[in-house]
């Protein structure tokens, strides 16, 4: 189990490097807040520990509820602010790229 998980860990690291290596400076902020939202995945840890453990003290439960709330803030807030930021970049796309951009967008939809 450990070895399989470590293999996944290493591969995921390479995926992270590969995906992020060529990001223009312009998008550094949205990228950071987007990845920021993704590590809110710890929410799963909170849910599973709280959901599957049977001998939790009330104090442990309290800690986990806070952890789940934290994770949710991280996920929901992260994706929302990223979307707001990106909306600003999107707003001026047609003006910027002109007909060529429109055409490309059309191509994508096909």
């Amino acid at each position: 189990m450990l070895l399989a998980n470590l293999a996944i860990l290493v591969l995921a690291g390479f995926v992270g490097f590969a995906v992020i290596s060529k990001v223009p400076n312009t998008l550094h902020t949205p990228l950071m807040s987007g990845t920021n939202a993704i590590h809110g995945i710890v929410l799963l840890g909170g849910i599973l520990v709280l959901g599957l453990s049977h001998d939790l003290t009330p104090f442990d439960k309290l800690l986990l509820v806070v952890a789940i709330a934290f994770g949710t803030i991280n996920v929901v807030g992260g994706f929302l602010v990223t979307d707001r930021m990106l909306g600003m970049f999107k707003g001026k796309q047609p003006a910027r790229a002109g007909t060529r951009g429109d055409q490309e967008q059309g191509d994508e939809q096909r």
Binding site: N5, L27, M32, V42, G45, I47, A67, F70, K90
Partner: protein
């Protein structure tokens, strides 16, 4: 893990990674973010359908609390306040990891009977998560202006203290590893790690914030991956590690843009060691200009290069700057924006603000692209940027920012600097540029200065 959960996790990975790939291009970014968010939703769903999951009321309570806090915060935050918001969202993620590790400790009686790797990964998550939570809170406080942005440090004893606190956190963790099950030890681990977060970020000046925020982002990702190892949850491993890797890349890029090594930034604030006082400036005069003169100079320039910095963000001057640029363009003056990679308090901070103000994308120039143009430009307009324009980075080897790549503002024929006062920037370093004969200062709030320039331009 059951088959449906695993299958959903795989779908979630694909969506998260595909979404992230979208985030790397301006055209696909909005959709990429949406896809990643859907991926996250699938991952949460996969966890909820694991057989035997109970305590529904509490789970729902936690999610509802988080949504009730996170959604309004994300919707109301101003674009200029984005860096602190990102820092805060990052911090709570780290906090969640630390809390989960704490509960793991309690519910397994100090990891008795658990494999060693579970204990190691949990304790790693506890330490790094706690460092990230408290470090991010300090970063938030600094960016929000709750605590002074200048470096707060203890001078020479700082590094010794940092080392001692790190050792104390590790000692608590090792004691747990050796079989002690006192709850004080896990609390000690978390508290000492919290102290590490505070002590490391407090001495870091505002100008280094882009590096700090991306570093904390990477740390939270790594702690999430560690928590995933401890819980044997592949979704957490994959997502956490991707963030760890991408955050590391960003951190590295930022540090390179400042010609500073990450250890140097973490070990001590900007200008630590008194290097800032290396060169006596003495009494020198600066030339002050008025909005009317500035407007005339701009209107008759061949080209104006705007160099925005944190001051523009603080004054929320981006819309006024855009209006000014429009007026200039109507008069036939070309306007470009020179964006230093670490201008502002977050990677890409200026790009977001100028995009908010609808500045055309092709006018935003990266440092390498624009640096050759300053020499051919009549006027550079520096709006609240300081260290990234300081020629001492090229010429003065005793300067703490020596070697940092800067914008060659000093090479343009004349320079107008919009600044509140003569106070040096966060780094506390005098800027030679202000005393150069070609430079004129326009003192005041960046937004009102630009607005008065606009008024003058209109009557020209």
């Amino acid at each position: 893990m059951t088959t449906p959960t695993v299958a959903l996790y795989i779908v979630a990975f694909a969506l998260l990674i595909y979404g992230l790939m979208g985030l790397t291009g301006p055209r696909t970014a909005v959709r990429g973010n949406l896809i990643a968010a859907v991926g996250m939703g699938v991952a949460v769903l996969a966890a909820l359908i694991v057989p035997g999951v109970g305590n529904w009321a509490l789970i729902v309570l936690g999610v509802a609390l988080g949504t009730a806090i996170g959604v309004p915060a994300a919707q109301r935050v101003k674009m200029t306040a984005m860096p602190q918001m990102v820092a805060l969202f990052n911090g709570v993620g780290g906090g969640a990891v630390a809390l989960i590790a704490w509960v793991e400790f309690n519910s397994t009686a100090a990891f008795s009977g658990e494999p060693t790797y579970v204990m190691v990964a949990s304790l790693f998550g506890a330490i790094v998560g706690s460092v990230s939570f408290w470090g991010s809170l300090v970063a938030f406080g600094k960016l929000q202006g709750l605590i002074p942005g200048r470096p707060i440090s203890l001078g020479n004893s700082q590094q010794l203290l940092n080392a001692l606190v790190v050792l104390a956190a590790l000692a608590c963790a090792v004691a747990i590893g050796l079989g002690n099950d006192s709850e004080l030890l896990i609390i000690g681990t978390l508290v000492f790690a919290a102290a590490v977060g505070l002590l490391v970020v407090l001495p870091i000046g505002g100008a280094d914030m882009p590096v700090v925020i991306s570093l904390l982002n990477a740390l939270t990702g790594l702690s999430a991956a560690a928590a995933g190892l401890a819980l044997s949850n592949t979704a957490m491993i994959v997502a956490g590690m991707i963030v760890g890797a991408s955050g590391s890349i960003l951190t590295n890029l930022m540090a390179k843009a400042m010609n500073r090594s990450i250890p140097a930034i973490v070990a001590g604030g900007f200008g630590g060691g008194g290097a800032a006082a290396g060169r006596e400036i003495g009494e020198r005069t600066v030339r002050e200009t008025s909005a009317a003169d500035a407007a005339v100079q701009m209107a008759y320039a061949n080209q104006v290069i705007v160099v925005p910095g944190y001051g523009m963000a603080v004054a929320q001057a981006q819309h006024a700057v855009r209006d000014m640029a429009k007026l200039l363009e109507e008069k036939g003056v070309g306007v470009k924006y020179a964006i230093h990679p670490v201008a502002g308090r977050m990677p890409g901070h200026m790009n977001v603000l100028l995009a908010e103000a609808d500045v055309p994308y092709e006018q935003l120039k990266e440092m390498d692209e624009i640096n050759g143009e300053f020499a051919r430009t009549d006027l550079a307009l520096v709006i609240g940027a300081n260290d990234v324009t300081n020629p001492a980075a090229r010429t003065d080897s005793s300067s703490p920012i020596h070697g940092m790549p800067i914008l060659n503002v000093d090479q343009s024929k004349s320079v107008i600097v919009l600044k509140r006062s003569m106070n040096p920037g966060f780094a506390g370093i005098e800027n030679e540029l202000y005393y150069s004969p070609g430079t004129a200062m326009l003192f005041g709030d960046a937004k009102s200065s630009v607005e008065s320039v606009i008024e003058e331009l209109k009557v020209l």
